[in-house]
């Protein structure tokens, strides 16, 4: 089968530079006695940390880098040796293994000594409890406080009581940080940071929505790279400037009829985590099959509701509760249904990630329910976010090819 050349995203050059500056700044902060570094979970209250002036590092991003660099098999055994199960979060295990061995891609790619030493770790268990245990290990190692918020989980409707509860947790978090470090948070800075976060998230959603067009201007594989500003730099003007640039490029693609996958024939949805160590193999396979992954839970569920002034803590509490991963099966099914319809999806792939049940949605009957309600083929592939030992390339490729053959047969 001929492989047609993919069109590169031009804005990506800027992103590379932005990432370099971001990591340079983290490295500088970790060596500057006058600055403090905080570690934060990807959907954690980073706006509060920004308002306090912390340089913020996101260990999940490091976990993904370790996975993408195929380092899991060499690092996880160290975490297992330290008593962490190989069947739990491979981001966490890779990160612990990285700390125990001193091996990190941050050294090769950004010239850093490794992840910056934290003065504080802040988690949000709205995504999983594993983050608490993960940060617990590093808290003990660095003798740095690990604080967190624990919103009610698996929600259907998000109520005022839920929001009030989480808002109170956020207030307590601020108080603890203030007393721990003898500083006071500047509330106007928090407002500013939340407004910037919200704007970046809105722009990110608009970027992703260009994939509703046929052919899709952006694919899941692009999204995995392009979403780094909305995680690492949200709460900053840099992220906004970048997404404005990227959005203009994607809108131009739509106007010119340029797709992320040349000769697009099929449009799929991806639920669950990416398989980081096999991203290249998988994206090439889908390209060869002229199939675009036009939308995904991983990228698309990152877009928060806009902040329109008012209490920034209330906005943070609400977004914390409303994110996809924190919702019940009914909400998730509704979300997936809408995505599948809005993006004109032909079929859906669910990644059953061995070490992340939290980001896996194929374990409680969702696949069968969607098959029946939407009459589309749905495929489940077994794998993992980072640990390639749980992934069979040959078996997955056969599964994917058969899935496309199934779509062809339905169209025949």
């Amino acid at each position: 089968m001929p492989t047609m050349k993919r069109v590169e995203i031009k804005a990506h050059q800027h992103l590379k530079e932005m990432l370099r500056l971001y990591f340079d700044d983290l490295e500088a902060a970790s060596h500057d006695a006058g600055r403090r570094v905080a570690w934060c979970t990807s959907v954690g209250p980073c706006e509060i940390l920004a308002a306090f002036g912390f340089a913020v590092f996101f260990p999940e991003n490091h976990g993904a880098m370790l996975g993408a660099k195929k380092m899991a098999a060499e690092l996880i055994p160290y975490a297992v040796g330290a008593g962490y199960s190989a069947e739990t979060c491979s981001y966490m295990n890779c990160d612990i293994g990285s700390a125990l061995t001193g091996r990190s891609p941050l050294t090769d790619v950004y010239g850093m000594a490794g992840p910056p030493t934290p003065d504080l770790l802040v988690y949000n268990t709205n995504q999983c409890r594993e983050v608490q245990d993960w940060f617990g290990w590093f808290s003990r190692k660095h003798d740095a406080p690990s604080l967190g918020i624990m919103p009610p989980r698996c929600l259907g409707a998000v109520t005022k009581d839920h929001i009030a509860f989480v808002k109170h947790e956020l207030e307590l978090l601020i108080q603890k940080i203030e007393s721990q470090f003898g500083v006071t948070m500047d509330h106007s800075k928090l407002e500013e940071s939340v407004a910037l976060s919200s704007r970046a998230s809105t722009l990110w959603r608009e970027v992703l929505d260009t994939a509703q067009h046929q052919p899709a201007a952006i694919s899941f594989w692009d999204g995995l790279i392009q979403m780094s500003p909305v995680i690492l730099m949200r709460g900053s003007q840099t992220a906004i400037d970048y997404y404005e640039l990227l959005l203009a490029e994607m809108q131009q693609r739509v106007a010119d009829g340029v797709g992320a996958v040349p000769g697009e024939r099929w449009r799929l949805y991806w639920d669950g985590m990416p398989v980081w160590p096999r991203i290249r193999d998988l994206s090439e396979k889908f390209q060869e099959l002229r199939t675009v992954i036009a939308a995904s839970t991983y990228c698309n569920s990152w877009a928060f509701e806009p902040y329109e002034g008012g209490d920034p803590l209330e906005w943070m509490a609400r977004t914390s509760l409303e994110i996809f991963i924190n919702r019940d099966e009914e909400y998730k099914q509704q979300f997936l249904t809408e995505m599948i319809q809005q993006f004109s999806i032909d079929g859906a792939i669910f990644h059953n990630a061995r070490t992340c049940p939290n980001n896996t949605n194929s374990r409680f009957g969702m696949v069968e329910r969607l098959r029946q309600s939407l009459d589309i083929p749905v495929l489940v592939i077994d794998g993992d976010l980072s640990d390639a030992r749980f992934f069979s390339t040959a078996q997955t490729m056969t599964n994917v090819e058969a899935f496309i053959e199934q779509l062809e047969e339905r169209r025949r």
Binding site: P377, F390, T398, N399, A402, E405, Q406, E409
Partner: protein
């Protein structure tokens, strides 16, 4: 599609390469199986020669060919390749229109394929990557017990009890077998328990057991009557076994080649159809 030509399907499996030749009516007129070895291209050529010999035709009479199986991309003379899943579904439709589920138990993996009333693929599942629930599970335990898979099968057929080996993991199952031996369980019952373990693993992969007939294909089904028995017990129905279960994929590929009219590639060089 000509009304005189022959069509070839090749299933380049992980342990054996199978070739099926059909005539323009879809009748199976030649087949052959050879070990896949290290080189699928070589194995498929050898297998093709043997199958053409059995069909008493030459390559010139072949109008189309499709390859399938793990080494499908390496079969040089095939006009295109398709997955085993599509090919098995196609083969099943031909044998018996009542078939709705195909259970293919091979050496490396087990597949459960579901088709609808029109013979279209509805969904399919493969076992998660490990030996559990595959022929390798049985072979490995038979080896530990110092017997061949065929001998294990014959032994199991003597069983009259409802013994089940519960462990899915090959290592744990071996330990469980040793415990049963120590406890004095009769050997035929233990052997049958191993086949039931695979059957129950396979049963779990079926999304809608009880809807339509189930067909069994693949090497384990072809060579082990106990496997068919264990599946039948769980399904409470007789499992349909096609005439040459180990050639099911190759046969389906040949049928697809006939219908898709995708042609062949030159035996030397690689001109795609």
């Amino acid at each position: 599609m000509s009304d005189q030509g022959f069509y070839v399907g090749v299933d380049a499996g992980s342990s054996a390469t199978k070739c099926a030749v059909i005539d323009w009516h879809g009748n199976l007129v030649g087949c052959s199986a050879v070990p896949s070895g290290f080189d699928y291209a070589v194995a498929s050529e050898r297998c093709l020669e043997e199958a053409l010999g059995e069909a008493v035709i030459t390559w010139d009479a072949v109008e189309g060919s499709i390859s399938t199986g793990y080494g499908r991309e390496h079969v040089k003379f095939a006009g295109r390749y398709l997955t085993e899943i599509t090919c098995h579904a196609r083969g099943a439709r031909q044998w018996n229109p009542d078939i709705r589920t195909i259970v293919d138990i091979g050496g490396q993996d087990t597949k459960v394929i579901r088709i609808n009333d029109h013979g279209q693929l509805v969904d399919y599942r493969m076992n998660a990557k490990c030996a559990a629930g595959t022929g390798t599970f049985l072979e490995s335990i038979a080896l530990k017990l110092g017997m061949s898979l065929t001998a294990l099968d014959s032994l199991a057929m003597e069983s009259t009890a409802k013994t089940t080996i519960n462990s899915y993991c090959t290592v744990f199952a071996s330990t469980e077998v040793l415990e049963r031996i120590k406890a004095g369980d009769p050997a035929p019952d233990i052997a049958m328990g191993l086949f039931r373990s695979i059957a129950s693993r396979t049963f779990e992969m079926m999304t809608s057991p009880g809807q339509g007939r189930v067909a069994g294909t693949g090497g384990v089904v072809a060579y082990c009557r106990s496997m068919v028995r264990a599946l039948g017990e769980l399904l409470q129905d007789e499992v349909i076994i096609p005439p040459a279960p180990q050639f099911a994929g190759a046969y389906g590929a040949a049928l697809e080649a006939k219908e898709r009219g995708c042609g062949i590639r030159a035996r030397e060089g690689a001109e795609s159809c």
